[in-house]
Symmetry: C2
Subunit: 367 residues, 2 copies
């Protein structure tokens, strides 16, 4: 936003110069926005609806919205990055269980750790929320908040996705990166509002999405302040303080943002209430649902899958005017190319590891 604001200030200044307007071409050429802000979006109704909405709300007229109120909220898993075969955060947890196992010899014979160590996701799922909760607590609590973020960063640098062989933070959606940048270039403030752990997402949100830590809203473990000598720390306690999912999303938006979004994006029923909260009010608003329809380039899944449901939100979409993004049709490409990622500071993905993931055997089949 800073660059966009500076560009705007520069342009206003230039237009104000009047007689000196001939010089405008010089700095504009350097700072000019590319002709097409959404090159990875196929021309068509979806793309047109997005561009029209942004133009209407940012140009003088009936639908104009002041800059301060241009809030855009994005779900993360399945909306900004992939989520198959399981939420990446859960794959992180399983890798952490393996990494911590030498300090816990008892895990070899103790559920749910035994199944986690075996990478037996089906057995874990049979253990239900209690088993999954135990895996999460063992890997997401019991350290400081800074240590946790550093651990996630290290994992992101080393881990590779079991089927694509990519770094997980290279499995972000190129069209959504463009949408985030396009909204920010039009002075929208972009937030993540997602069920993932806040600190987990902060480990990559800034360098991958351009979203700073203070605009990442997720689920939270309880943080407890501790001063040891002259060294303060925030300890992550094994208590889930807040689940940022379903009706929790508008609640978190109210608690932390304090304005209703003008734009929201999601991909499951966990986003249903956020989309309602965004669009069920007077004035302009827009909501999109990323629909995973692309078996060839990503995954195809619909109303019920390993990572949740997209059922009520799909039913409500037509009467609420929510745009369902058809990944296969609306997106020219899925992921950024490795060269572009490297230029952004991320490491290019290595070739897929022969024999699948080094850490996990996923027994679920791709639909």
């Amino acid at each position: 936003m800073t660059r966009a604001t500076a560009d705007r200030g520069r342009r206003r200044f230039l237009s104000g110069l009047g007689a000196l307007a001939f010089i405008a071409a010089v700095p504009m050429a350097a700072g000019a926005r590319p002709a097409d802000p959404l090159p990875s979006w196929t021309a068509g109704a979806t793309r047109t609806a997005i561009v029209d909405f942004v133009q209407r709300t940012t140009s003088k007229g009936d639908a104009f919205v002041p800059v301060a109120e241009r809030i855009a909220t994005f779900d993360n898993d399945g909306t900004l990055w992939a989520e198959q075969p399981l939420y990446f955060q859960f794959l992180f947890a399983l890798d952490r269980i393996r990494a911590l196992a030498p300090q816990h010899p008892e895990w070899k014979d103790q559920e749910p750790y035994k199944s986690a160590l075996a990478g037996d996701v089906k057995a874990l799922a049979l253990g239900g929320e209690k088993a999954l909760g135990e895996i999460v607590m063992a890997t997401h609590a019991g350290m400081t908040n800074d240590e946790f973020r550093a651990t996630v960063k290290q994992w992101l640098a080393q881990a590779r996705h079991p089927t694509t062989g990519r770094r997980y933070d290279e499995m972000v959606y190129q069209p959504m990166l463009e949408l985030l940048a396009y909204l920010r270039a039009n002075d929208f403030k972009t937030f993540i509002v997602s069920g993932g752990d806040t600190e987990f997402m902060r480990a990559f949100a800034e360098h991958v999405y351009g979203i700073p830590p203070e605009q990442v809203i997720g689920s939270r473990m309880k943080l407890e302040y501790r001063l040891t000598g002259d060294t303060p720390a925030l300890d992550r306690k094994p208590v889930m303080e807040f689940m940022d999912d379903g009706p929790g999303k508008p609640a978190a938006i109210g608690a932390i943002i304090g304005r209703r979004p003008l734009f929201a994006a999601g991909n499951s029923d966990g986003d249903l209430q956020m989309l309602q909260w965004t669009t069920l009010r007077p004035g302009p608003s827009m909501a999109i649902i990323v629909h995973h329809s692309d078996r060839a380039r990503e995954w195809a899944y619909d109303r019920q899958s390993a990572v949740g449901r997209l059922d009520k939100a799909l039913d409500e979409a037509p009467r609420r005017g929510w745009i369902v993004v058809d990944m296969a049709k609306d997106w020219k490409r899925i992921y950024p190319d490795a060269a572009a990622s490297a230029a952004n500071g991320a490491q290019p993905a290595p070739p897929p590891v022969a024999g699948g993931s080094p850490t996990l055997s996923i027994s679920r089949s791709r639909k």
Copy 2:
């Protein structure tokens, strides 16, 4: 920040023009920062320390801090606005009890409402946290979040402080308004991190402090999403979800901001841990404590008062290098003048009401 950023972009562009630099004087004259960004701060050690810190951290050199990390956090009560004879939010609660009394005839004979209706703060205090909690729940929950903010705005427009006769939002500290603006002009992002109710503070933080809702962090009632027909709402439930005080402040900073502050300001032991969290780390940082030493123009209170303690924080200040702001000595003026407030969209304060507050007889004496 938007205007400052635009100004900076403009200046960079101008300096880049080289041969055309002669025109720079034209827009600079219009947008130039005043020579003195802190006119209400007395020349002296405190003021010098603040200016030096901002210059060192924003100029190239050993102490330079990137823009993204320039986080400044401010307590509200007693730091940005006055807090005597009692927290203004509690005076709001007492006014609301009176306003709601016709719908609750039983309150006439029922504590703590009876004492609240009589404005008998001493009797209320004897009821302890339970009594105060009941008053807070009766006035801060049981409506939607939007309704609550509107009620606070309406109260701010009508209520007058019992001894100054000013609007409460005109009892903000002019030197602190200048400090907020000075930090923002240097690309600091300013947050409120205060024990007050988040939504209560949002009712005035934007127009009075220039701090948008998403940068206001306070205590929170639990919010619950409800959809009635096609109308969604966030209900304020009578449950204190989070107390943003003491060790809760660094916890909230970790949960919501996700970066350690570079600068923090407080005025009581409720800010102790925030100041520690800000300054006990490598690299530059600064913390200030507003010390209410001004009996003539404001109030004079110290280690123990009706609104809390300033005890441990004052003890730690010397060895932590925290700057204790001596209100009587360091501030040329306390409040903005009414004309300036009116120009900012606020109403000028009427003359003090004869006979004291229309709604409250405060029995505590000023020290």
